[in-house]
């Protein structure tokens, strides 16, 4: 948990300007990341080993690999959701625009406002549709009702849910279908206007229409967001991402342009997984 020298923040101290140049500075830099979970009988599981990777602004990075390979663990580190798991221990560095988010004094609440997350199973709050989307805004202290209404409507629109719920914003969110609930969770995450969006297998429900809508949405969102998506589906990774990272047994085996990963991967393990020999 070393502190970060100002010189490390970004070249020239202008992170925003750097984004616009031809070789953008990374949004997220992960350096030598290790994650350990405490086992049930004492002892530790080494869930992630020495992972180093960059995530660039306005790209979609897909994380693939067999179950238990560490891809979801990796995703949860990026907004410190591993803090909620008892006995989880993290070592290494994760820099968000040059600042180490794993530092002890780093404010996780602020971090999670900048790095949003949508989970595998939709978890609507026991509130109305409107209040679900407004939840994050209110939690951050926004009290202006018109501004809240504007941002809730905008977020529902961006998540392609507005047309389906605009006449029943006051209805309980628990009445939504699975696909709608997932888009509600995305709208909820978008309403707080994060810079990075983490998606943990957001389309695991076998609903082809919902999946298509969500993939369209991801394509639109990457115009101004950085997206990291965990997916079990090779086809989905190929459709939505610019770069793909392959995890296997807690290690990052290979990361590269999605096209290259799916046509001529450097590692045989990647090729074996993609062509379905294991996993």
């Amino acid at each position: 948990m070393a502190t970060i020298e100002p010189s490390q923040r970004s070249p020239g101290g202008e992170p925003r300007a750097a984004v616009l140049t031809a070789a953008p500075s990374p949004k997220l830099e992960v350096r030598g990341l290790d994650v350990f979970y405490r086992g049930e009988k004492g002892g530790e599981t080494h869930a992630l080993q020495d992972v180093t990777v960059d995530v660039f602004p306005r790209e979609v990075l897909a994380l693939i690999g067999p179950s238990g390979c560490g891809k979801s663990t990796f995703l949860r580190v990026l907004n410190r959701m591993n803090d909620t798991i008892p006995g989880a221990r993290v070592a290494g560095k994760v820099l968000l625009e040059g600042e180490d988010i794993l530092a002890k004094d780093y404010d996780v609440v602020t971090l999670r406002r900048r790095v949003g997350m949508v989970f595998q199973r939709p978890q609507p709050f026991p509130k109305s549709i409107f209040d679900n989307v407004a939840y994050g805004l209110r939690a951050h202290g926004l009290a202006d009702k018109r501004e809240i209404t504007r941002r809730v409507e905008q977020a529902l629109g961006r998540a392609a849910l507005w047309d389906e719920v605009k006449d029943r914003l006051d209805a309980a969110a628990l009445g939504l279908s699975g696909g709608q609930a997932q888009r509600l969770c995305i709208a909820r995450a978008l309403a707080v206007e994060p810079e990075v969006l983490l998606l943990d297998e957001p389309t695991s429900a076998p609903d082809p229409i919902a999946t298509a809508k969500l993939e369209e949405l991801i394509a639109e969102l990457k115009a101004d967001l950085t997206i990291v998506i965990v997916t079990h589906s090779m086809q989905q990774a190929a459709r939505v991402s610019q770069r793909t990272a392959f995890f296997y047994m807690g290690r990052l085996i290979e990361v590269g342009a999605t096209k290259q990963m799916f046509t001529r991967p450097r590692e045989t393990r990647t090729e074996d997984y993609i062509t379905g020999r294991f996993g």
Binding site: V109, G116, F119, Q123, F125, P126, G136, A139, L174
Partner: protein
């Protein structure tokens, strides 16, 4: 073959349980229903307890349980929230609190009664009298407030354990979803977790109430009265109580045989009140379960 004998054994065991309940209910209803009337429910006992009704006892029971609920629910729920949401599971303090709750649940109710007399009435009450009433016995005697606080102690474990269970039933994913939006732990707990567990928390409160409404031993020395013409109007007034009235009618009346119809009527009223509270608890539980089920669909 072994299955058949097991099925038969469980059927017989269940039949005994249900049968006993039915016998008790039938006996009470058969002997008690005839005395139930508007007068019985509102009037005070009269004629050596052989006439009149149980109005003051119903009022006293209601006042007692309401006061007890006001005392036990906030403390119990906040303790449960602390245990479930804030305390580290392996912390010494949390383990000590859990042990205390478990032991509290095992203490015989008459011991609560003696404790209430010694602690609330004689220590706190007399202390209050010395400090604020110039030594005149105002709170330093059995009264509604002390009985309610004693009952609150007795029912505390019910509230804590049931509330903690309701909070633990809230999926971790739901907490994570709130935290991932940049909500604080406090916001997550009180705006997402507690509302989600509200059905269970209400159920626990009602179970505590229905348990407390039927207890007699804890209020024997702390506030219940044998017979009162006037209803309690102050927190330090004594009161009549349905459970205690049953005991009085069964053992203390001038002619036990002649008060028997009154006795059965009182038991019936007490049973119906407790039963109604349990029905409300079950209805709330079912409605919450339905809401949760629709969330998973």
């Amino acid at each position: 073959m072994r299955d058949a004998s097991l099925v038969a054994a469980t059927a017989i065991a269940s039949a005994i349980v249900v049968g006993m309940l039915l016998v008790i209910l039938l006996d009470v209803v058969r002997s008690g229903a005839s005395v139930i009337s508007g007068t019985f429910l509102t009037a005070a006992p009269s004629g050596g307890m052989q006439a009149g009704g149980v109005g003051p006892a119903i009022f006293g029971t209601a006042a007692l349980t309401i006061l007890m609920t006001v005392a036990v629910v906030p403390v119990g729920v906040i303790t449960a929230i602390w245990l479930s949401e804030y305390a580290r599971p392996d912390s010494r303090l949390a383990r000590a609190v859990r042990l205390a709750v478990a032991n509290l649940a095992g203490v015989p109710s008459i011991v609560f009664g003696l404790f209430g007399l010694g602690f609330f009435v004689q220590t706190i009450g007399r202390g209050l009298d010395k400090a604020a009433y110039g030594g005149v016995a105002t709170y330093g005697k059995p009264g509604l407030i002390w009985a309610a606080l004693t009952l609150a102690l007795l029912t505390m474990p019910v509230v804590i354990v049931a509330t903690e269970e309701a909070l633990r039933a809230v999926p971790r994913d739901l907490r994570d979803a709130s935290l991932a939006l940049g909500a604080t732990k406090f916001q997550t707990t009180f705006q997402v977790v507690v509302p989600q567990a509200m059905g269970g928390i209400l159920t626990s409160a009602i179970l505590a109430v229905s348990r407390g409404a039927g207890e007699v031993a804890p209020i024997l020395f702390t506030g219940a009265a044998y017979f009162l013409v006037e209803l309690p109007t102050h927190l330090n007034d004594q009161f009549m109580n349905l459970g205690y009235h049953v005991y009085v009618l069964a053992t203390q009346s001038p002619d036990v045989d002649k008060t028997r119809p009154q006795l059965y009527g009182t038991v019936l009223v007490l049973l119906v009140l407790t039963f109604l509270l349990n029905v409300v608890a079950v209805v709330i539980r079912i409605r919450t379960r339905k809401a949760l089920a629709s969330a998973r669909a």
